[in-house]
C-alpha cells in the first residue's frame, strides 16, 4: 500500500467514527437531549469529513457535505429550528453521507438521484438564508459558539457578505504553538497557499526568540502578520488554516474601507506590546477587544479561533475529549488476532505443563506447583486483558440499526420509534461484526411484519407510532441482545396454516405455542404472501438463525398476541476461550461448557425412573429431568450406560430446557481454547467446536443445546417434519 492509500485508509476509519458521532448527535437531538454542544459536535463531524474528502479530491462527497454543513450551520446559529421534519431530513442526509463515504471507499460512483432529492430539501432550509442574514444580532450570538472549538465561526451568511468581487485586504495574525510543528505542519506551505489567493505581504515577528542558551529546539517563537490582498472571502482564507487552527492563535481581520471601526482596533493591536508570554493571554484579550468596539459589525469581523476562557466548562470538556482521544490508538486487527492466538497457545501450553508436572509425580506443596499455580493466574489475567482489547461496545452496531429502522419505516409508511438500551455492552469484535446482517434482518422484520399499520394500531387502542426496542445486556456470562416490537405478535394460526401448506408439518401435528413460533426458523418458511421490497427477499429467519449459531449464539422467540414479539439472541462473550468441564465418555474426552452446567451429581437408584420404552428420567429435588446418555447420543457406544455408574451433569439451555447428561467421569474443570471445526471440515451436529488438551490431543466441545434439542425431537417432535424440510 502506498503512503497516500494508507492516509486515505486512515481517513475512512476516521469517517466511520465521525459518522457515528454524527448519528449519535442527531439521535440525541431527536430525543430532545441535544444542546448547542451537540449541534456543534455534529457540525464538526460533517466539517471534518468534508475537509478530508477535499484533500483526496472526492468531489461528490465534498459537494454533499458542504450543503449538509451549511444547513447544520443554520441550525447551529439558531436560524433554523430543529423541528422533527428538519431532523428527519438531517438524519437521512447522514445516511446518504455514509453511503457516499462508503462509495468513495470502494471507488464506486453513487447515482446522483441518491443525493439530488436531499440536496433540494437541504437547500430549501438554507434557502431563506437571505432573510436570515438581515438578522445581524443572530450572527453576533454565533460568536458565542466559538469556545466550543468549532472550526469556523463565520457562517455562510457572512461569507456571502465578504464575497464581494472587488479585492479586499485582510490582516492575518498568526502565531503557531509548538504543537503545530509537532503535528508536522509547515508554515511556509500555509503562506504559499495564501499567496495563491492574492498578493501577500508577510512580516515576521522575531521578538520572541530567546537567547541561544534558553532556546528550546522544539519550541515555537515566531509569529507572523500577513496582509493579504484578495478577492476571496474570509471563509476561504480560514480554510487554509483549517488543520492548524487548534495549534495556533489566529486572527483574521478584514480592512473594509467603509468600516472605520476596524482601523483603530487594528492599530491598537499592532501597538500592543509583543512581549506577551503565552498564546492564551492573547486569546483572553480577543473578546475584550471585540467588546470594546461598539459596532456590532466589527465584532462580527473579528474571528478568534482560540477557545475563550469565558466558558471554562466548555473548554474543560473539550480538553477532556482531547484526553480520551489521545489515550486510544488504532491497532491493526491482524496484530490483535495474533496476540489472541498466542494467548490461546499459552493456555494450551500451560495445560501441558500442568499435565507434565502431574505426570512427573512431584510432591504436594512443591515450589514447582506453587509456581505453576501463579502461572495459571497470570495466564488467565493476560487472557482477560487480551479479550478486553477485542471487546467493543455494541453501540456502533446499534447505530447502524437506527438507520435500518428509519429506512424500513419509510418503505412501509409506518411511524416507528426506536428505543435503544445498553449500547455500551461490550462484545467481542468478531461477534459484533457478524451480528450486523442478522440484526438488520430482524429489525426489518420487526418493522415490516411485527408492527401493524397506523390505522390498525389506533383501532386497537395503541399509539399510532410503533416502538421497536433494541437492548443489550450481560447475563450469566453471555451477552443477550433483544429486538422487540409492540406489534400484533405472531399470528400462530396463520403460521401453522402456512407450515401445513408448505409441507413443513402435517395437519395432525399437535404443536405448542413455542413450537409454532419456532416454525419461523425453519428453512423455506416465509409468512409474507407477496415479497415486499423490504424483508422477505427469499432470506428467511433460518438464515438469521444459522448466522447466529455460527458465532456460537442462540436465538429465541417469545410472542404475545396483540402485545408484540421479542427475539432474543444470546451470544458468548468471546469466540476464543471457554470455561469448560473436561469429562470422559466411552474413552473419549469431551468438554462441556460450564455456562450450561447447573450442577453435577451422583445419582442413587431411587432417583432414576424409567419412562416408556428406553427413556429415563432422573429426579433432582422432586423435579423429573430427562436423561441423555452422551455416549449414546454421540455414537461412541451402542448400549446405554448405567446412570448409576457414571456422573450426571444437570444442564440447562438458554431457554430453560433442562436435561441430565450422563458421562463416565469428570476429569477437570479448566479454560479451553476454542478451535473451529468449520475451518477445515464443517459443522458436526452436537459439537460446538473443538479444543486442544494438555497432551496435544483434540477434544470436542459438546453443544448442549443441540443434544437436548435432538433428544427432544427424537422423543416428541415429528421426525418426518424435519425430514421434509431437510
Amino acid at each position: 500500500m502506498d503512503s497516500m492509500a494508507e492516509i486515505k485508509q486512515t481517513f475512512f476509519q476516521e469517517c466511520d467514527d465521525l459518522l457515528g458521532e454524527l448519528e449519535t448527535g442527531l439521535i440525541d437531538m431527536e430525543g430532545g437531549d441535544g444542546d448547542c454542544e451537540t449541534v456543534a459536535a455534529i457540525f464538526r463531524a460533517v466539517h471534518s469529513i468534508k475537509g478530508g474528502a477535499g484533500a483526496f479530491g472526492l468531489d461528490k462527497l465534498v459537494a454533499f457535505a458542504h450543503i449538509f454543513e451549511t444547513t447544520l450551520d443554520e441550525v447551529r446559529a439558531d436560524r433554523l429550528e430543529a423541528t422533527p421534519e428538519v431532523l428527519s431530513v438531517l438524519l437521512r442526509s447522514s445516511d446518504v453521507l455514509a453511503d457516499l463515504v462508503r462509495a468513495a471507499q470502494n471507488d464506486e460512483e453513487l447515482g446522483d438521484d441518491a443525493t439530488a432529492g436531499l440536496v433540494e430539501e437541504l437547500s430549501a432550509f438554507v434557502g431563506d438564508k437571505a432573510g436570515a442574514a438581515d438578522e445581524a444580532p443572530a450572527g453576533g450570538e454565533d460568536i458565542s459558539f466559538a469556545p466550543l472549538g468549532t472550526a469556523i465561526d463565520l457562517d455562510d451568511a457572512f461569507g456571502d457578505l465578504d464575497d464581494v468581487e472587488e479585492n479586499q485586504s485582510f490582516t492575518i495574525k498568526f502565531r503557531p504553538m509548538p504543537e503545530l510543528y509537532a503535528n508536522a505542519n509547515e508554515t511556509v506551505l500555509l503562506f504559499r497557499n495564501l499567496a495563491q489567493m492574492g498578493d501577500v505581504t508577510v512580516a515576521c515577528d522575531e521578538s520572541q526568540i530567546p537567547t541561544l542558551d534558553e532556546i528550546d529546539p522544539e519550541g515555537a517563537y515566531l509569529a507572523w502578520t500577513i496582509i493579504v490582498h484578495t478577492s476571496h472571502s474570509k471563509d476561504e482564507l480560514l480554510e487554509i488554516f483549517e488543520f492548524v487552527e487548534d495549534d495556533c492563535t489566529l486572527e483574521i481581520t478584514s480592512e473594509e474601507p467603509s468600516d472605520d471601526a476596524d482601523e483603530p482596533e487594528l492599530a491598537d493591536d499592532e501597538a500592543l506590546p509583543v512581549e506577551e508570554e503565552s498564546p492564551p493571554a492573547k486569546a483572553d484579550r480577543a473578546p475584550d477587544e471585540a467588546a470594546s468596539g461598539d459596532d456590532v459589525a466589527s465584532e462580527d469581523n473579528v474571528v478568534s479561533l482560540v477557545e475563550k476562557k469565558e466558558k471554562p466548562a466548555a473548554k474543560e470538556q473539550a480538553s477532556k475529549e482531547k484526553d480520551t482521544s489521545d489515550a486510544t490508538i488504532r491497532v491493526n486487527l491482524g496484530r490483535i488476532d495474533r496476540l489472541v492466538n498466542l494467548v490461546g497457545e499459552l493456555v494450551i501450553n500451560q495445560a501441558m505443563l500442568t499435565q507434565g508436572v502431574i505426570d512427573a509425580g512431584l510432591e504436594r506443596g512443591d515450589s514447582v506447583e506453587a509456581g505453576l499455580e501463579e502461572l495459571k493466574q497470570l495466564t488467565r489475567e493476560i487472557q482477560d486483558s487480551v479479550m478486553a482489547i477485542r471487546a467493543q461496545p455494541v453501540k456502533a452496531l446499534f447505530q447502524r440499526m437506527s438507520r435500518i429502522v428509519r429506512e424500513a419505516a419509510r418503505a412501509t409508511e409506518k411511524s416507528v420509534h426506536l428505543v435503544m438500551e445498553g449500547e455500551m455492552t461490550e462484545v467481542d469484535k468478531t461477534v459484533v461484526e457478524r451480528l450486523a446482517d442478522p440484526l438488520t434482518h430482524m429489525i426489518r422484520n420487526a418493522v415490516d411484519h411485527g408492527l401493524e399499520k397506523a390505522e390498525t394500531r389506533i383501532a386497537n387502542g395503541k399509539p399510532a407510532e410503533g416502538t421497536v426496542s433494541l437492548t443489550a445486556a450481560h447475563r450469566s456470562g453471555r451477552v443477550v441482545i433483544e429486538v422487540s416490537d409492540d406489534g400484533a405478535g405472531i399470528n400462530r394460526e396463520r403460521v401453522r396454516n402456512i407450515a401445513i401448506e408448505k409441507g413443513l408439518i402435517s395437519e395432525e401435528d399437535k404443536l405448542s405455542d413455542s413450537d409454532i413460533d419456532n416454525l419461523l426458523f425453519m428453512p423455506g418458511f416465509s409468512t409474507v404472501e407477496k415479497v415486499s421490497n423490504l424483508s422477505g427477499r427469499g432470506v428467511g429467519m433460518d438464515v438469521v438463525k444459522r448466522a447466529i449459531q455460527a458465532v456460537g449464539g442462540r436465538i429465541m422467540i417469545s410472542s404475545q398476541p396483540g402485545k408484540g414479539s421479542t427475539f432474543s439472541i444470546s451470544l458468548p462473550l468471546t469466540l476464543a476461550i471457554l470455561d469448560g468441564m473436561v469429562v470422559e465418555v466411552a474413552d473419549q474426552t469431551l468438554v462441556v461448557p460450564l455456562t450450561a452446567i447447573v450442577e453435577t451429581l451422583k445419582p442413587t437408584p431411587s432417583d432414576t425412573h424409567e419412562l416408556g420404552a428406553g427413556s429415563k428420567v432422573i429426579s433432582i429435588r422432586g423435579e423429573f429431568i430427562p436423561v441423555i446418555d452422551a455416549g449414546l447420543t454421540m455414537g461412541y457406544r451402542a448400549e446405554p450406560a448405567d446412570p448409576l455408574t457414571g456422573v450426571v451433569l444437570s444442564v440447562e439451555t438458554e431457554d430453560g430446557a433442562r436435561a441430565a447428561v450422563i458421562v463416565d467421569t469428570i476429569q477437570d474443570q479448566r479454560q479451553v481454547v476454542i478451535k473451529s471445526l468449520e475451518e477445515n471440515y464443517g459443522h458436526v451436529d452436537s459439537v460446538a467446536a473443538a479444543t486442544i488438551l494438555g497432551d496435544g490431543r483434540i477434544a470436542l466441545i459438546l453443544d448442549v443445546d443441540a443434544i437436548i434439542a435432538r433428544e427432544g425431537e427424537a422423543l416428541s417432535f415429528h421426525e418426518n417434519s424435519l425430514a421434509a424440510t431437510g
Binding site: 492466538n341 490461546g344 497457545e345 494450551i348 444459522r546 473419549q588 474426552t589 447420543t633 454421540m634 455414537g635 461412541y636 478451535k675 473451529s676 471445526l677 468449520e678 475451518e679 477445515n680 471440515y681 464443517g682 459443522h683 458436526v684 451436529d685 452436537s686 459439537v687 473443538a690 486442544i692 496435544g696 490431543r697 483434540i698 477434544a699 470436542l700
Partner: protein, 157 residues
C-alpha cells in the same frame, strides 16, 4: 485440480504418488502441504465412516479421511507405518490416511489419459485421469470430491 492446471500443455507436472491398498494414486505436489506419520485421531460423532476424526496440526483442527474407505476399498487399520498426507483443498486443510508414499513423478500433462469407463461409479467420481508409469497404472485423484459433499456446501453457505 484447476488451480494447478498449467496453461502450457508442454509443461511438466509434478505429482506425489502413494499406495492405497494395492492401488496407486497421485495428487499434484502443490496441493500437498506436508506428510506426517500417523497419529491417533479424535473421532467425530455422527460423521460418515470414512471420516476418521480430527488431529491437531500445530494448533489447527484438521480432519482425517480414510482414503481407502472413501474410495470404497477395505477400511484401513492404521498403524505406525501409515502416513497422513495433509492436503490443501481450496481453503481447507485435510489429512488423508494412506499406506505409504511411493514416488514423486514428473510427467508431461498430455500423458494423463481420461479415466477409463469402469463400472465402479464411485471410483470414477474420485479419479480425474490415469497415467501409465512403466508397468503401473496411477490414478490422479480429484481432491474436490474427497470431503463429504455437505460439509463443503455447508461452508460455502
Amino acid at each position: 485440480m484447476s488451480e494447478t492446471e498449467t496453461k502450457n500443455h508442454d509443461e511438466a507436472l509434478e505429482l506425489v504418488a502413494f499406495c492405497v491398498g494395492d492401488q496407486e494414486y497421485c495428487v499434484h505436489i502443490m496441493s500437498v502441504r506436508e506428510i506426517r506419520g500417523w497419529t491417533k485421531e479424535t473421532s467425530l460423532p455422527l460423521t460418515p465412516p470414512f471420516v476418521r476424526g480430527v488431529i491437531n496440526l500445530r494448533g489447527s483442527v484438521v480432519p482425517v479421511i480414510d482414503l481407502a474407505s472413501r474410495l470404497g476399498l477395505e477400511q484401513t487399520k492404521p498403524s505406525a507405518r501409515h502416513v497422513i498426507i495433509i492436503m490443501q483443498i481450496g481453503e481447507q486443510a485435510v489429512g488423508l490416511v494412506v499406506d505409504a508414499v511411493s514416488d514423486i513423478l514428473t510427467i508431461l500433462k498430455e500423458k494423463i489419459q481420461p479415466t477409463p469407463d469402469v463400472s465402479s461409479e464411485a471410483a470414477r467420481g474420485f479419479v480425474e485421469g490415469v497415467l501409465a508409469m512403466e508397468e503401473r497404472m496411477i490414478n490422479l485423484l480429484d481432491l474436490s470430491t474427497v470431503l463429504p459433499r455437505d460439509t463443503i456446501e455447508g461452508i460455502a453457505a
